[in-house]
Amino acid sequence: MSAENQQLVNVVIDGKAIQAPPSLSVIQALWHAGYPRVKGVGCLEGVCGSCRVLVRREGQEKVGMELGCQTLVEEGMQVLFLVFPNPTHHHYELGEIKNSWDVQAEFHRIFPEANSCRHCGGCYSACPKNINVELGVKLAGEGRFREAGELFVECIMCNLCMTGCPEAIAPNHVGLFARRVTAYFHARPSNLIHRLELLRKGELEVDCNSPGSQPDNAAN
């Protein structure tokens, strides 16, 4: 096995003192040591936001929040998985917003707390994707949804900013709202609309036995 050739490091993960080769992520290290682990494991590629962990590195006061599949074990590291549900308390359906002129008003109705941001910056320091969450909340509050949404392009909805927010603003859902209304109200691609129109008129039928779909014509 690949593990042999490497010097093992000592880490404590979820209170379990284990040894693992430094090429492993903290999730893999747990598996390696023989502990089953399925809670808080998802895509294993850093995009699903499942594997949130608290990490304290040796000799440091600071405790960071990271993604377990992206964090390699280091000597003396302490790790704790943050597995708890993050129900959102905001409910809305895009269809309820009848008129795009009302978006800002609707936003404040749906997210009444967004105005009470105390600018603690907790959301920003908690974000494993280094998104300027605080600014996003501010822009959304000002109705600048497109700009706000742009900040959240890489948001993986790990909800760390949400638990971190002392005003219960749910900043990531604010960001997603900003993104969704931008698409819902402003994306009107004419090439798509034209194609839908042709399909509606029945001008683009599909022949299931078309010449282009026969094995003998496959060469071209």
Binding site: V41, C43, V47
Partner: protein, 546 residues
């Protein structure tokens, strides 16, 4: 895969130098021989003939066959005291297909429960980068999309299904926009498109490198904001059948309190995704943690027919090293841009732009014949010559492949200065459960959509068709399943089919030790529900070292 000694990593790395010109080694074998000798699908020793169930006599990958013909995880006795919950539609799986089906079914007026193994959205969908196919450009037609899909699938796809899907394409994009999904647009607000390998027109719509992420977070939000009842950490472990053998619900394992729940439903939609985490033939995978093919097993036990059980896609460029990122996908775009593949001797050994299966086979050949690069016992690969690409096109990595640079950062390797070690990665399940244009399987009351279903891609899939398929058929199945909610209820609901299974397994002399569905990959060391908490070190963990 057998690996003879190749060049050690450090030696190969110090010998490596980026160079602007490298001639292609003349091809030895023809591609057919190459595939037959080295592509995993063609390796006779990995195939088996199915003995039990509706696909008896068909060829199937050995590991999948073992699971299809394994004993169930539960017994009737396990259901003692298990609560019964009733609903109209039960959707199993919380990826793109499951969410689309649930949303549409709910909107059509059905009561919906969506049960998923991990959290909602922990799926292959969230990882998709490239984009989604839909014929919308002037230079394109649904017919061309149809022809391309059939051709790529070696004419094994179901024509009726492909026709339905390609015609849905533009409306799928509209529906996604209406859910609040963004796409990359040009200066006039038109959808931007790009071309997928092996297709005849620009047809892939996308959102940056994050198409799947954008799709998934929008659909997840839409589901969570609806009246759909979402149950996370609740994998389906078995389907329920009624007195006529129709599907009548499922048994879910509630991992959070270690108990079973029976959901009795008018209709069930399976949307459990792919099989990457079965690690067929020991391959690494690009798939998410829950891609263990559960839906195939569940459907098969109830009598649903499956297809193309011997056809899987191995993506040529999976990261081979470092270990914690092994299997991670490097997008095809990097090769399309002109990046070379080099073996341990620094030679190009294949035209990098050939179809995925051919390139993957060639990489496997290099490793098998000692021309690979070995880093540790068991880890072998070839170079992806990104510094060479950068040398010929200064700045291209930064400009076009930020996500690759990001991956490099996580790996501690700078792709613009050092080549990446790559190896084929198990990527996609081409076949699956047989369905019709409504997503209905051969078992009444049971639907199947998304990667778990079969027939749309034949024996090979083009990039972007998977994301289209999951929404197209997800919506179709959701609509159709919801319409069945006025059917009479089931008279009797139970696990009769398991007795049949056990009888057949015994008669065919199959081993009964193995249980399925597997739910979690072997590496996670999950044996039974009590392991959800991960507190005790496992009995099963043999110390493999020393």
């Amino acid at each position: 895969m057998t690996v003879s000694n190749g060049t050690p990593y450090s030696e190969a790395l110090s010998a490596y130098q980026a160079s602007a010109a490298r001639p292609l080694k003349p091809a030895g074998d023809d591609t057919q021989t190459l595939l037959e000798q080295y592509h995993p699908d063609y390796r006779a020793d990995t195939l088996d003939t199915i003995k039990v169930g509706p696909n008896s006599g068909d060829r199937c990958h050995r590991q999948l066959a073992e699971l299809l013909q394994a004993d169930a995880r539960i017994d009737e006795a396990d259901l003692a005291g298990a609560p019964v919950v009733k609903t109209d539609v039960l959707v199993i799986g919380g990826g793109g297909a499951g969410c689309a089906a649930a949303l549409v079914a709910r909107q059509a007026g059905a009561e919906v429960i969506l049960a998923t193994k991990l959290r909602l959205g922990d799926s292959n969908t969230v990882m998709a980068e490239g984009g989604i196919q839909a014929s919308i450009e002037k230079s394109d037609t649904p017919q061309m999309h149809f022809d391309d899909t059939l051709k790529a699938g070696h004419f094994n796809a179901e024509r009726e299904l492909v026709a339905a899907m390609v015609k849905d394409g533009p409306d799928v994009i509209r529906w996604l926009i209406q859910q609040g999904m963004q796409f990359d647009l040009d200066e006039f607000g038109d959808l931007l498109t790009r071309r997928a390998g092996g297709t005849s027109a620009n047809r892939v719509c996308y959102y940056r490198d994050y198409t799947g992420l954008e799709m998934m977070r929008v659909l997840r939000e839409a589901v969570q904001n609806s009246d759909i009842d979402v149950w996370d950490y609740s994998p389906a472990v078995e389907l329920l059948a009624n007195e006529s053998g129709h599907c009548a619900g499922a048994v879910l394992s509630n991992l959070k309190n270690c108990s079973y729940v029976q959901v009795v439903a008018k209709t069930v939609i399976i949307a459990t995704g792919g099989i990457g985490r079965m690690h067929l033939n020991g391959f690494p995978t690009s798939n998410h943690f829950g891609a263990t093919g559960d839906g195939l097993i569940l459907a098969y036990r109830l009598g649903a027919k499956l297809r193309e059980l011997d056809s899987f896609q191995y993506h040529p460029t999976g990261l081979a090293w470092p270990q914690h990122l092994a299997g991670s996908l490097i997008t095809e775009g990097v090769r399309s841009a002109g990046t070379w593949l080099l073996n341990g001797h620094g030679e190009r050994f294949i035209d990098e732009l050939l179809p995925r299966d051919v390139v993957a086979a060639a990489i496997l050949r290099e490793c098998a014949e000692g021309r690979g690069i070995t880093i540790e016992d068991g880890v072998c690969g070839v170079w992806l010559d990104t510094p060479g690409l950068e040398l010929r096109n200064p700045g291209i990595l930064q400009q076009r492949f930020p996500k690759l640079l990001n991956l490099g950062k996580k790996a501690g390797i700078d792709p613009s200065r050092s080549p990446l070690l790559i190896y084929p990665t198990l990527h996609y399940q081409n076949g699956g459960v047989v369905i019709d244009a409504n997503g209905a399987t051969t078992v009444p009351g049971l639907y199947c959509v998304g990667e778990a279903s079969g027939g749309i891609h034949g024996k090979n899939r083009i990039m972007g068709n998977a994301l289209l398929e999951i929404i197209s058929f997800g919506r179709r199945a959701g609509e159709h399943a919801a319409a069945q909610r006025h059917n009479k209820g089931h008279k009797q609901v139970g696990l009769e089919h398991l007795s049949r299974l056990r009888r057949e397994l015994t008669i065919s002399g199959m081993p009964m030790e193995r249980k399925s569905p597997m739910l979690f990959p072997d590496c996670a060391k999950f044996d039974d529900d009590a392991d959800y908490d991960g507190l005790r070190r496992h009995r099963r963990n043999k110390v493999t070292q020393e």
